[in-house]
Assembly symmetry: C2
Homo-oligomer: 97 residues x 2
DNA sequence: TAAAGTAGTTTATTTTATAAACCAAATATT
DNA sequence: AATATTTGGTTTATAAAATAAACTACTTTA
C-alpha cells in the first residue's frame, strides 16, 4: 500500500534541488542556493549526497577568476525522481481508496 | 517558489499514518502497524509526535483484556495534511514551470 | 508453572539535517 | 600597499530524527 520513499529524495532541500534540475537541466550553485533559500553549507552537503547517489553530475570550473560549480541531473536521477513522485502519490490521496 | 514542508508530516511513517487516518477516520495501533509495515517501537514514537503536534487523538482502552490504542485525525491534522500536500505539489511538477 | 504471545513503551544507537566555522582567492577600501 | 570585505564554496560540530533493540506488563496456551 505505502511504497518506500527513496530517502535520498525525501529531504526538502534535495528534493528542491532535483525539482529545479528536472526543469532546467543545468544550474549554478549560487542559482540553486537562491531558489531554495538554503545556506551554502547545507547545499554543499546535499549536492554531494545527490552526486554520490549518481542522481546529479557536478562540474567545477573557474569563471572570471571565481570558482563556479554547476549541477545537472542524470538519467538515473530523472528515473529516481519519477519513481519517487509515483510512490508519493500513494500517500497523498485525500479520497477513500 | 519552494514552500516549507511541515517537518512533522515530511516523514515517511508519519505521513503514512496521516494518510491512513484521513481515509478511515479511526484506526487501531495494530492495524496501522500492519498497513505501514512499521515496527511497534517506531510507530509508538511517531504516533506520540503526531499527538504532540495536535494532529491526531490517541485513545487507550482495554478490549478483551488487552490494551487497545486507537487513533483518529483532528481538524488541525486534516488542515496540516492538506497544506502539506499543496506545498509538496510545488516540488513535483516535471514540466517546465 | 513455564513458555510464548499480545500490545505496546522506553532507551540507545545510527543516520540526517542544519548551523557554525573555516578556507582560498578576488575585489574594494583607506 | 596593507587590510577589510565579498565570493564561492568546504569541513566540522551540533541538533534533530529515524530506527532498532531492549524492556514492561499482562494474557494465553501447553
Amino acid at each position: 500500500m505505502f511504497k518506500e520513499l527513496d530517502p535520498i529524495l525525501h529531504s526538502q532541500l534535495r528534493l528542491a534541488v532535483m525539482s529545479l534540475l528536472i526543469g532546467i537541466k543545468e544550474a549554478e550553485f549560487t542559482f540553486i542556493k537562491e531558489k531554495t533559500n538554503a545556506t551554502a553549507g547545507n547545499l554543499s552537503v546535499q549536492i554531494q549526497k545527490l552526486k554520490d547517489a549518481g542522481y546529479i553530475e557536478v562540474n567545477k570550473q573557474f569563471k572570471d577568476n571565481y570558482p563556479l560549480t554547476t549541477c545537472s541531473i542524470t538519467k538515473k536521477g530523472i528515473e529516481a525522481f519519477e519513481k519517487y513522485v509515483k510512490a508519493l502519490q500513494g500517500y497523498l490521496h485525500t479520497d477513500t481508496n
